[in-house]
Amino acid sequence: MLKRRTLLSLAASGMSLPVLDAWALPGPARPDGRLILIFLRGGLDGLHAIAPVTDPLLAELRPTLSTSAIDDGLRLGSSGFAAHPAFRAVADLYRAGELAFAPCAGTTDTSRSHFQAQDLFELGTGAIHGSSGFLARAADALGTGRGAISFTREIPLAFQGGESVPQVAPLSGSGLKLPPGRLLEALRSAHRGLRTGEALEQALATETEVESAMTMAMEVPAARGAPGAGAFNRVANTMGQVLRNNPRLAMAFLDLGGFDTHANEEAILSRGLADLGAGLLALKTALGQDEWQRTRVVVMSEFGRTVRENGTRGTDHGHGGLMLLCGGSGRGARMVGDFGGLTERSLNENRDLPVLVDWRSVLAACMEEAFAWNGAVLDTVFPGRPRQRLAV
């Protein structure tokens, strides 16, 4: 039988091969699905979040960073992996059959540059320059009945360059509301036909659609996180309410920072992972059971980090990393793609995890399932994506 890595490289070279095992079977398509993408900027250390605790090399390669997972980690079935104790929410989702993880996923980036790897991810073509991001192309493909929203302050590269300005609703700070009247009408007319005008019109459209849901959500006391809770936990509830109240928003994007852990990683990620996990649960609660059933949440980062810990109790920029797939419509508790262990032979450049699952394969499979898109549509979203089909 072919080794998986060989399979992937053959697949990447454009040869079409029959799909060989269960994780690669296509799933049933549901055209009314929803995709939420949470992008962790900075390069999450996947091996710290979900650690291969049964691998004997783990403790040796990460003398201080592996102890919490080895001693107190939450085992994920018989996968050999355990979630970091601060990542309890993820273990709970896994045990409820609502979460799968890919330990060696990522992009084709080899630069180990945050900026280049993030651009590569957001453009989604395999190139580091291009005229549009993959979410912009996906939003165009959604057509008029469904929309996409970016819960960010600015328009992320992933959403740039499409047919229209995407809806952008920052989850913090003041909203978009502008007092109506002749001044506003004068401003609209002064900006008409300009790019500033498009953005202004989109602000007004988003305001009517989203602002009321947002205002409502922000007044719920539970939306304010417990003291010390991080940004995501605070905003996830708002995000869930906005989406629940606007069923036509079929695609959502959110980015979180603070994962570039060159030093003191245990302390930083103990907070970061707790926040991320709590936020995922808050999102699930806010969406409600029915919406959760049609929702798929994908969490990923631009790259993983070095397998060995560095001299300052942190890790440096690496290659393969962790991808999480959760939601009520997934295929439940399992590992997606392979994990070849931590021996020197299995590592990329004797330094990082390899990328065994291409990010476009995962996202394309999610879109295929959520929106019942065929291969031709997916090719416009991810041109040149590897011919690897995943069931998610």
Binding site: H114, Q118, S131, R153, R182, T196, L200, Q202, D316
Partner: protein
């Protein structure tokens, strides 16, 4: 960490006009500026025109305007300089560091949670004071070109001031780059940034230790493992000098990380006697500690760095990077994107790159080809750059206040933070982008329109005296207290003439939209007009 080369530039939505235009006029570099050029320069290399600034600038040539920007410090109105003199930034950095920095006596003394909280509040005061002092200086400087160039370099060598003890040295960092800017040399700027406690702490190099150094061996005896951290080395190559695609390898990153081991900061716990004995070198709070340095042979960017060298090989590496052709190109492209166009013409970038190399990295020499390019004059006329949030708010403040002092630091810092940009507040080391795609969004437009409406209605007390003490726009103070502070005090007295001088000629669409509006509405329209969004 999100991007460089600035990622907006990856998106070519609009064909640059010069791609289709015919014969173009270049701006005479050594003739006094007419009003339109002066207004354009004050917008592109500054924060907008006021009547006094316009009159002053029209007496200069473009070359003189930039030479002044490099050579002369900023003068501030008395009211503002007095406020800065009584701000926490006026305290000597060594005193602050020895008190509150790592190993500082007050930090060591803070044993219970309450004391630690008080200490953290103190640290935050220095951060807030530095950010606000920077904004006040930009808003009120009589030499806005200097402040615009300094803002560019502070953003190029970006640090995130809220990170740990960087808060305490944020103002020190601003001053270090300010001094280096006056030397008009990229290498001096690179050195100022590298040898600053802020950068050493921000990108973790202060902890990086050669695994076979005496410090690491000593730590190992105590059961503690010390080693290399590549963070600063990577960003030096990728962001500060050669740039992505500049031809360096992962191996170069690792070798540079070895070269710069030992660079860090001093703490009051270190004993002078020991430091002298091991041959440590101090430059302000910067410390080169031979006990952490890797004295082995290295090979960096194709050159052999022989064994046995310490601080001198760091100097050598910095010079090698500063004079590297890829650095020339990287710096030229970034300057062109900020000061010419999101997608600058290749011919101009190439001319700037040559000028950089020919002058050994003089910034002014690198900028002359940009100013002399016909596309520059055209880009001023077309206002082809979308203003970044800080520059937008400062230009609103200047247009509203004319030549009255803008003394309310809180309005400025709360305003720009709400818009997503503030000096030394980019959490990732690539700094903020300067392109339209980085900043033009529905939320940005909504916020700008709201700001313009508030200023026009006199609700924004830009001229309020900086009160004693620092008001933190962050989370600590109650929202009500902040609101009360923002509402008391005074707005600048707006006048239509100042505003029109600041904006310049209006488009037909804007004029048509303005007809039928009240005077106040007209001001709001102008401050949020398409013309005022750009420079």
């Amino acid at each position: 960490m999100v991007r460089l080369p600035e990622r907006c530039l990856k998106l070519l939505r609009v064909l640059p006009l010069w791609a289709v235009a015919g014969a173009l006029q270049a701006m005479p570099l050594d003739a006094a500026m007419d009003e339109a050029t002066a207004r354009g320069m004050l917008g592109r290399f500054g924060f907008g025109a006021t009547p006094a600034a316009l009159a002053q600038t029209m007496r200069l040539t473009p070359r003189q305007y930039l030479q002044r920007a490099f050579n002369e410090p900023s003068l501030l109105p008395r009211k503002v300089s007095d406020a800065l003199g009584s701000s926490p930034i006026a305290e000597p950095v060594e005193t602050v560091w020895n008190r509150l920095g790592p190993g500082g006596y007050e930090r060591r003394g803070a044993r219970d949670a309450e004391a630690r909280k008080r200490q953290q509040q103190q640290e935050r005061r220095y951060l807030t004071a530095a950010v606000q002092a920077r904004l006040l200086t930009m808003a009120n400087s009589d030499n806005p070109g200097h402040e615009a160039l300094l803002a560019f370099w502070l953003n190029h060598f970006s640090v995130y001031a809220p990170k740990g003890p960087v808060k305490l040295v944020a103002w020190d960092y601003i001053q270090a780059l300010d001094r280096a800017l006056r030397a008009d040399s990229f290498e001096e700027l690179l050195r100022a940034s590298f040898f600053s406690p802020a950068m050493q702490v921000y990108l973790d190099n202060a902890q990086s230790t050669a695994p076979d150094s005496s410090a690491a061996r000593q730590a190992a005896r105590r059961g503690k493992e010390l080693g290399i951290n590549e963070n600063l080395a990577r960003e030096l190559l990728e962001l500060h000098t050669l740039g992505v695609g500049g031809g360096y390898t992962q191996h170069d990153v690792q070798e540079l990380a070895r070269i710069i081991t030992g660079a860090g900061v001093s703490t009051p716990l270190m004993q002078e006697r020991n430091l002298a004995r091991v041959g440590a070198v101090r430059m302000g709070l910067f410390l080169f500690d031979p006990r952490r340095h890797d004295y082995g042979e290295k090979k960096f960017l194709g050159q052999v760095f022989p064994a046995g060298h310490g601080l001198d090989e760091i100097d050598r590496a910095l010079r090698l990077m500063a004079q590297h052709p890829a650095t020339a190109r990287h710096v030229a492209l970034k300057l062109a994107r900020r000061f010419l166009a999101d997608e600058p013409p290749e011919s101009v970038v190439a001319a700037m790159t040559r000028a950089y190399l020919a002058s050994g990295g003089r910034i002014s020499d690198t900028l002359w080809p940009l100013l002399q390019a016909p596309q520059f004059e055209q880009s001023l006329a077309q206002r082809s750059k979308f203003k970044e949030p800080v520059d937008y708010l400062l230009s609103v403040a200047r247009a509203a206040c004319g030549d009255q002092p803008i003394a309310n630091a809180l309005v400025l810092s709360a305003g720009v933070l709400d818009m997503g940009q503030a000096p030394l507040m980019r959490s990732t080391p690539e700094g903020y982008g300067s392109g339209e795609a980085d900043w033009l969004s529905p939320a940005a437009m909504a916020k700008r329109v709201r700001t313009a409406m508030g200023v026009a209605a006199g609700r924004v007390p830009l001229a309020l005296d900086a009160a004693p003490g620092v008001v933190d726009p962050g989370m600590e103070q109650g929202a009500d207290a902040r609101r009360a502070r923002l509402q008391q005090g005074m707005a600048c007295t707006l006048d239509a003439h100042t505003l029109e001088q600041s904006i310049g000629p209006l488009s037909r669409a804007t004029l048509a939209a303005a007809s039928g509006l009240s005077a106040r509405e007209r001001v709001a329209l102008l401050l949020a007009s398409p013309e005022f969004m750009r420079r």
